[in-house]
């Protein structure tokens, strides 16, 4: 597959997963109404509202928030003209505006991008990645990060987090009502015991399903960013060998918070992830294989 078909496939899959999220929300609401009756409909907007407010704030101020959470320091062109020249090259290739650039003092090689839109984009590099990579590799990494900016991944992950959050809150409220509210209020509406059991199961399992969907979306966005990076540089070998450096390296970024783990190019958590279903990144070997396949097309 070349990068265009890769991009199209990953975009399609993201849409599919977002539709899956929407179906899940609908299922939860339906299950809640079946189990507790329509008198509880009022809590749906409350749950969505709480999730929206909590996620929207971090989406809107993503660039500033992530700086404090990762300890990144903004730098100017005079601080690292070579890095800036490389970033300028990729902005020209992508047609994006120049992002803010930051450095994280950490010997583990890694990088991330954030910001609510291309005008507020921020890309950050650890001192470790700047030391470990040559020009082509760093260009691949920059292209991957700017690809996240171009694909609006901060927005996509905010949407995923909002729906997952709303589902979690809703399901939490419902389970509490089950224990303290004494079950259904209007038993006359839906007497079917199988439906009740299914509804109960949906309410209990939905938050887990939402987390799985959220992780799957994150993985698809990573693959999409790899493909888009190749669209920018037309050099799959650069990003591929950069990922190989990351694969060989076993050091992990010293995180102040795990809540921003998903934004790095190489996940700082996946090494200990329970299963690949929960991980926010595709396995690095798989990403390398896809890029190698693109190289063989040239």
């Amino acid at each position: 597959m070349n990068f265009r078909t890769q991009q199209a496939a990953n975009k399609r899959k993201t849409i599919g997963l977002l539709v899956g999220m929407a179906v899940l929300v609908w299922l939860v609401v339906y299950a809640a109404l079946t189990y507790f009756g329509t008198s509880t409909a009022g809590i749906v907007p409350i749950a969505v509202g709480i999730a929206l407010i909590s996620v929207w704030g971090s989406y809107y101020g993503a660039d500033k928030l992530v700086i404090t959470m990762t300890g990144a320091k903004l730098i100017q062109e005079s601080d690292n003209p070579k890095l800036f020249a490389l970033i300028q090259e990729v902005t020209i290739a992508s047609g994006l505006p120049m992002p803010k650039v930051a450095i994280v003092v950490d010997s583990a090689p890694n990088a991330f991008a954030t910001g609510r839109n291309p005008e507020h984009a921020l890309i950050a590099f650890t001192t470790g990645i700047l030391d470990a990579m040559d020009r082509d590799q760093l260009q691949g990494v920059i292209a991957h990060e700017l690809a996240h900016v171009a694909n609006r991944d901060t927005l996509v992950s905010a949407v995923a987090a909002t729906t997952a959050g709303a589902i979690a809150i809703l399901s939490d409220m419902m389970t509490r009502m089950m224990f303290f509210g004494g079950g259904r209020r209007d038993r006359g509406n839906n007497g079917n015991p199988i439906m009740l059991l299914v509804s109960l199961l949906i309410l209990i399992l939905a938050p887990l399903a939402a987390i799985l969907l959220k992780s799957a979306i994150s993985r698809k966005r990573e693959s999409l960013a790899d493909a888009t990076a190749v669209a920018f540089t037309r050099n799959p070998a650069g990003l591929r060998s950069a990922l190989e450096v990351l694969e060989r390296d076993s050091t992990v970024v010293q995180q102040k918070s795990t809540s921003v783990a998903h934004i790095w190019i190489e996940s700082p958590l996946d090494g200990k992830a329970v299963s690949r279903l929960f991980s926010t990144h595709p396995p690095i070997a798989e990403r390398i294989a896809v890029l190698k396949a693109m190289e063989s097309l040239n």
């Binding site: 020249a85 490389l86 300028q88 090259e89 990729v90 020209i92 290739a93 047609g95 920018f232």
Partner: protein, 183 residues
């Protein structure tokens, strides 16, 4: 009730028309912007050349023909305006610069001078920027030309006065030389 449905359908059709029209206009503007970016980068490169030539001249006085080739190519590049002309001049200038850098190879003092090294660095990144702006322009032309030729946007190309645009194709003699196979 019926009139509401009819009005709704008409509104949808109008919105669809507007969307197609706007898409073409947007694509056309992107191509113009991408073209402007190429010109910015070519200008940056042209501005670097006098300094580069001067710094090489300081060490290699007798390479007049190489200098002349660069200066002529630069003059052509700065005066060209149509896509094909700019692309041709760009290819010539790239070729002439390659000759200049090859000359520099023969002068160790020149190669070691800090001024030359920094100019060479700057030229390398400018060349990259030129190449990327070219690629970005061609990507945009590709989207525009596809839209001009495919349904449904092709019906609106005339109204929007948007036509197919020319790709930026660099003639690089080095690319032309296919490897000779001998048996």
């Amino acid at each position: 009730m019926k009139t509401i449905v009819v009005l709704g359908v008409i509104a949808l059709i109008v919105l669809f028309f507007i969307a197609q029209y706007n898409r073409l206009i947007r694509l056309n503007i992107s191509v113009n912007e991408a073209w402007a970016q190429i010109e910015v980068q070519l200008k940056r490169r042209a501005d670097l050349i006098p300094n580069l030539v001067e710094s090489v001249k300081g060490y290699a006085k007798h390479e007049q023909s190489t200098f002349d080739a660069v200066v002529t190519a630069r003059a052509k590049a700065t005066s060209a305006s149509s896509v094909a002309d700019v692309a041709a001049a760009d290819g010539m200038l790239t070729q002439a610069l390659r000759g200049l850098l090859a000359v520099a190879e023969a002068y160790p003092d020149l190669k070691a001078s800090a001024n030359f090294l920094s100019l060479q660095d700057e030229l390398a990144t400018t060349e990259n920027k030129v190449a990327f702006s070219r690629q970005f322009y061609n990507d945009n032309v590709r989207s525009l030309n596809t839209a001009v030729k495919t349904v449904p946007t092709n019906f609106f190309a005339g109204i929007a006065k948007v036509t197919e645009r020319e790709f930026y194709e660099v003639e690089d003699p080095q690319d032309r030389n296919a490897p000779k196979v001998t048996f």
